[in-house]
Amino acid sequence: MRKLLVLVVVVLSALTIFAEEAYNPEWLIADVEGGQRGGTLYLATTSGPKTLNTYWAQETSSSIIINQGDVSLLSNDFYGQPTQPSLAKDWGVERTEDGGTLYWFVMREGVRWSDGHPLTIDDVVFTWEKIIVPDLTADGNDVYMDAEGNLPELTVEGNKIMFKYPTVFRFGFQTVGGFAIMPKHVLEDKVTDAETFQSTWTVEQIDQLVVGGPFKVTEYTEGVRVVLERNPYYFEKTKDGVQLPYLDRIVFEIVTDSNVARLRFEAGETDMHGPAAKDFPALRAQADKKGWNVIVGPATAGSNFVAFNFNAADPVHREWFRNDNFRKAIAYAFDKQTIIDTLYNGLAVPCYGPRTNSSAFYNPKIEELGFRHSLVTAQRLLREAGFSLNEKGELVDWDGNVVEFELNTNGENVVRNEIAVILVDSLAKLGIKVNYRPLQFNAVVQKLYSANLDAIIIGLVGGDDPGWGTNVWLLDGGLHFWNWSPEVMDWVDPDEYWVHPAEQRIDEILRVSRSILDKDELQKLWDEWQMLIAENQILVYTISQNYLNMHKNTLHLYPVEKYGTINPYGYSYSPGMWKIEYAWKE
């Protein structure tokens, strides 16, 4: 019996060694070591995934889960910039003789999909030629185009893949280096048209899912939980030779109510929690006793701002909103510090421009512009512009019109709602009557597209690189909602259309920036861009909350171990999840 047992052990170990040898790709060696393999990470999420197709997921509830399995040629660094190796082991960009740009990537060899099938350059070509070029995705392929609307030309030489743009194009590493690669052997017959492709990898088709990234969804009980398991073929190793990810499984428990998510964390049922600022002090008080690591991270990327409609239906309102002093007065009247102290327990930073201080592109000079809370300055600016107070204490303009306008925001967003209330109160001190009307999200979006909008508090998300904001900042952009171009919205009267000189320059900057490869030259443009917006208060920025994170001491998160904080830009909807393949549990 004993002999038999020994024999079994020997055979099994031989098999294991053999199996390990059978899979020996050109490993990507991560800058981590000393972690423990195994364990399950328990997290709470507000709702389950709606689709598992990364190209059709529009909600964070889906993308936070799917992205764990995505893989592309390059991966992002701490600032969300595509500077790290992934499937590409070597890469670069060259200017070609005919004035174009050539992005090249050398693929790691011997890598496999989670089902064991080889992951090769064919899959990259397949994703590019059959999914992105024919435009089968929800986002469309505009982001891959250069300033003239050209998609790059793809060529393959052995293990080197090249994308050649006919013009100078800056975003190549983000775009062609960053798209999620899909398995050709699984999806070959699903890429006939957008309709078929979007119905591929729905939540009903978990068993067909094949990934190249660290974790793969293996189980979804509708509304209850999503289970992700390690991809046995993931191609990354630690410095001491452990195949990543460290964790065996990630379980997302679906907890719809945020109060309940907090209770679950307090009871020890989940390992990590992103608390709201209002809950933070109460939770921090328990941290030592319960063994939690508390992190106050940098400011979040997306910030809320007040936008005034330069094309408001009422010509009088339009004139106020286009007046620089008027918008600047609003900025001065808006008491950012009070909001931070009262609504955020001090866990937020004031914003003066379109990037927060945690951004890789931030221009600290905008803080020197001096937009600090001051009713006196606000009053002076209004007076200089020709506004005055009437005997009832109301602000009236140069023609004697009483200043009164409507302010909207989507009411279900608690933060925006509270900012609105404080703004209404501050402006009342200037004699301005603001009629605050919170709306449902869809109604807000419809308002953005109409002349009926006066002012709105809203926030936009997107990549950190300001160049991604063309839809928002170009004069004819599809989301330039505070001053629609008559070419985009037919209700804008071309004779009445007016462009702020700063907006004109911003438009130029965004166009030029698409073809500038030099980093310093580019940063100069972004500095100017932030200055233009801040100086003229094209949009009146408010505040931005700090990322807050609490996790059990037994959970080791890579960004915290390496950078002392969680990642602000690499993973905007859940900073604790960035590089989760490096996280390990004791």
């Binding site: 979007q198 509304g223 719809t256 999200f441 109604a443």
Partner: protein, 324 residues
């Protein structure tokens, strides 16, 4: 009887059509559509939005959209969910089990306890039992569901007696069948008590009032005077008459089982249709909302029909007739 049922079913068709027309156009009156989240995404161009509008059929006028939808329904195709990109029935079926489990358990809880308690209260009119039951019932009815649910969850978190929301334990799949059943009751207790206490008082009060009314009727007095034992009078005669309104309310219960627990489901993270519909309405996933509304309409009609048939069975005075 069969003829009656068939006629009722035929009459249900215009009702359902009415329901669908009103629901569809109310959905259309609401601002925006499913693509609004796409519109505010800085990465999606206007041309792409237009393409998606065509793909989802949102560029057609509402009347055309309605008739296309109706045509598909008649062919048995209830449309597909914009969000999930699958057939609406598949989406709803994924949630139906949880909703039915919660609904039926709550139904048994409210009726199974409410009716006997109502009778007890009536038999002890104005005595301590009656007043105690009324008080408990009133407390149950007056605490808002979401508040009761949160209190329950906080209590569960502090004591560990019941789970903090959810429907299945992590190890559910590995449990033997009897443990799985136990696990279900362990999880369903919170939502059932939250929902149950709210409607328990109603059932109890109706039952109590009815019994008292019937006990004062001449026939009951006569039977008692004749020397019939009071148990027989109560359980054989007055109860049969008293139960009619309760049976009538069954018709409504059937449809509310599917949709009446939104807030409770939300707080308890119970994966039922209620929370699904909440999301669907916010995301303007029209076909999913329409399918649900139509299903509720069908259940309401079926529920009423069943109630009428039960009523006829329990009370011979009720004749199933229809005015011509």
């Amino acid at each position: 009887m069969l003829k009656y049922i068939v006629r009722r079913l035929i009459l249900a068709i215009p009702v359902l059509l009415g329901v669908s027309v009103i629901s569809f156009f109310v959905m259309q009156l609401a601002p925006g559509d499913f693509l609004d989240t796409y519109r505010i995404n800085p990465n999606i161009s206007r041309e792409k939005i237009q393409e998606l509008e065509t793909l989802y059929g949102l560029d057609k006028n509402p009347v055309t959209q309605y008739f296309l939808w109706l045509g598909n329904i008649l062919k048995g195709d209830w449309g597909y969910s914009f969000v999930y990109k699958i057939d609406v029935w598949q989406v709803m079926l994924r949630r139906l089990e949880a909703t039915l489990l919660l609904g039926v358990t709550t139904f048994i809880f409210t009726w199974g306890i409410g009716i006997p308690l109502g009778i007890t209260a009536a038999l002890h009119q104005y005595k301590f039992t009656d007043q105690a039951l009324s008080t408990v019932g009133l407390i149950g009815i007056s605490i808002p569901n979401f508040f009761f649910a949160l209190l329950w969850l906080m209590w569960s978190a502090n004591t560990g007696i019941f789970p903090i929301g959810g429907m299945l334990s992590r190890e559910f799949a590995n449990f033997p069948w009897y443990k799985q059943i136990g696990d279900f009751f362990w999880h369903v207790a919170g939502p059932v008590i939250t929902l149950g206490t709210a409607s328990l008082a109603g059932t109890m009060r109706v039952m109590r009032g009815q019994i008292l009314d019937e006990m004062n009727q001449d026939y009951a007095e006569f039977a008692k005077a004749k020397g019939m034992p009071s148990d027989v009078v109560i359980y054989k005669h007055t109860l049969r008459n008293a139960i009619n309104p309760v049976i009538t309310s069954l018709g409504f219960s059937l449809s509310s089982i599917l949709g009446g627990a939104l807030i409770t489901e939300y707080v308890f993270s119970w994966p039922g249709l209620g929370s699904l519909m909440r999301d669907a309405i916010f995301q303007q996933d029209i076909y999913l909302v329409m399918a649900n509304l139509l299903l509720q309409g069908i259940l309401l009609i079926t529920g009423n029909l069943i109630a009428d048939i039960l009523l006829a069975a329990s009370d011979p005075r009720v004749r199933l007739r229809m005015s011509a």
